[in-house]
Amino acid sequence: MEIGGIIAYLVSLAIMAGIYAVFCLGLNIQWGYTGLFNIGIAGFFCIGAYASAMITTPKPTGVYAHYVNQIFGLNLPFILGLLGAAVICGVIAFLIGIPTLKLKEDYLAIATLGIAETFRLIFNNEHWLANGPRGLMGLPQPFQGLVDPKNYNYIYLIIIVIIMVVVYLSIERAIRSPWGRVLRGIREDEISAAMSGKDIFHFKMQSLVFGAMVMGLGGALYAHYTKAISPDVFTPLYGTFIIWVMLMAGGSGNNKGAVLGAFVVWGIWIGTKFMTDLLPYTLKARAPYIRFLLIGILLEIILIYRPQGLLGEEKEVSKLIE
């Protein structure tokens, strides 16, 4: 492979790692700082992607409408797609939070899992909604006409980096403030936090919704990168599990760890692809499973031997005044 090809490959790798970093940052708000156990990230991934897709594409007309069903298409700019994805995910998180956030932590886990599976099934079965299993294609990309399509990834990488930085900074700002301190306190001891006058349910809800909005953003970024989405992308493996491994590997309760984890685990994931390419032909079809098996074992090893991850949690939350 010539050098240009390698760079192009690295750029595509960085784009995906950057998208996953956004998810990890969202999960870190919920799990790392508040202790909320969301195992339905794929649901927010899916909703974010579809929401942005339908906001930014036009409703199919003419002959095309015979082949593609879509409940609405607003044909709005990319940035509104991102915002819409975030808002819709926030609303859904709010609805899940109502019955579960006052109960034990496992209930939120089961409920988010249920939401993820349910939305995937709905998008798969309801053709009128978003074209069923075939999904949506031809999603617009921002600043498309600016460069040669084969160099477009550079632009998208810049967009991803900008959004990732904005998300990172806004989370950092909120976490470093009294808001983040309350979340960490709730994670440590809910009763004591309540005795200091904090409304636990309210703060947990904010954390769940904020985290879900960030995940929605991640979903939208993914959709416009691949330009085509279908329900089978948003499986528990790609949509939830690998993100958990990333956050645990990087260090939950640490936003730098969340980003680092995303890049490291995505690197390992791609690395295992090269490894499985060496397998005999008959096993190749099942290579992704072998790779996921390794990722699963990685999670167990982290949980047992290094639960704090690579970076570990930061000692101080309140750093605003320094």
């Binding site: 209930y107 409920a111 493996l237 098996l293 047992i304």
Partner: protein
């Protein structure tokens, strides 16, 4: 409609088997085992390996019992698979959960670890058998028995109900009559007191995993006989299992039985109005309703 209710009871009894195991583990080890669904898959595939591989190779004849769709091979594979999955469950506890418990990790970390275990089991199945649906005996159709009111039931399904009744009653007798069963209930009631009484609670935990795993394996095989095998079958059972467990109050075996039947019937009856693929969301919606109305379940105290 009568037919749907009957099929619902068949499905529900399978869910019950899984939910009973889940609720026992929840009651004694006190965490949500997200790998429980994949124990079902593991059981079904171990039996598949026995029926189509090992036992065929040994030379056990491929005959069937009467109008049932299986014969000696399955009769041998069934208990063996239960034992194997019981062993897998105990092994997972020894390798993963026991270490985490010893480190003082909270229930959420244990649950996360079980989620990892779920994926590991599923990936092993996918690596060995691929992603397609499989059958114990492809292409074999047996005539259904005509029941009053125009309902039909297949002989296999009658046997499934029979097997569930046998397994649940044996578990009931085990817990009520044997020393180990009573010690299990005692540990679920009050672990500290059990220890003070001289009960080796780590051993009880092993028994609990063993029983939970064996029942899950049985549920998986029975589902495989009734419908088909699929690597994601257990994962798709996970939400119904949790719904049944929560509906019947966490830790309550009889609650899980009733919860399982309720969920199963509701899922089957829903197919009269909804696409069959929406069975899972139906269980999910029921679960959310319980959480809103009565989160402690039907047998729970306020």
């Amino acid at each position: 409609m009568v037919e749907l209710v009957i099929y619902g009871i068949v499905l529900g009894s399978i869910i019950s088997l899984g939910a009973i195991g889940l609720t026992l583990v929840y009651g004694i080890i006190r965490f949500a085992n997200f790998a429980h669904g994949d124990f079902l898959s593991a059981g079904a595939y171990v039996a598949l390996f026995m029926v189509t591989g090992l036992l065929a190779w040994i030379g056990i004849p491929d005959t069937t019992f009467g109008s049932l769709s299986f014969g000696w091979r399955m009769a041998i594979a069934f208990p063996v698979s239960m034992a194997v999955v019981a062993g897998v469950a105990i092994l997972l506890d020894q390798i993963l959960y026991r270490r985490l418990r010893a480190k003082g990790s909270g229930p959420v970390i244990l649950a996360m670890s079980s989620l990892g275990a779920a994926f590991i089991i599923r990936m092993i199945i996918l690596i060995l058998w691929g992603a397609d649906s499989l059958f114990y005996r492809p292409g074999l159709m047996r005539p259904a028995i005509e029941l009053p009111l125009g309902a039909k039931i297949r002989p296999d399904q009658v046997l499934i109900l029979f097997m569930v009744v046998v397994l649940v009653s044996s578990l009931h007798l085990f817990l009520k009559r044997t020393k180990m069963g009573k010690a299990m209930r005692a540990t679920a009631d009050n672990k500290e007191l059990a220890l003070v009484t001289g009960i080796d609670t780590e051993r009880i935990i092993m028994w609990t995993w063993g029983i939970g795993g064996a029942l899950a394996a049985a549920a998986g095989i029975l589902y495989g006989i009734d419908v088909q095998l699929h690597p994601y079958m257990g994962w798709n059972f996970l939400i119904p299992l949790f719904a049944a467990t929560i509906l019947g109050t966490i830790g309550n075996m009889y609650g899980a039985l009733i919860g399982g039947l309720t969920i199963g019937v509701a899922q089957q009856v829903s197919t009269a109005f909804l696409m069959p693929t929406y069975k899972l969301p139906v269980a999910f919606v029921i679960m959310i309703l319980i959480l809103l109305i009565r989160p402690e379940g039907i047998f729970g105290k306020e």
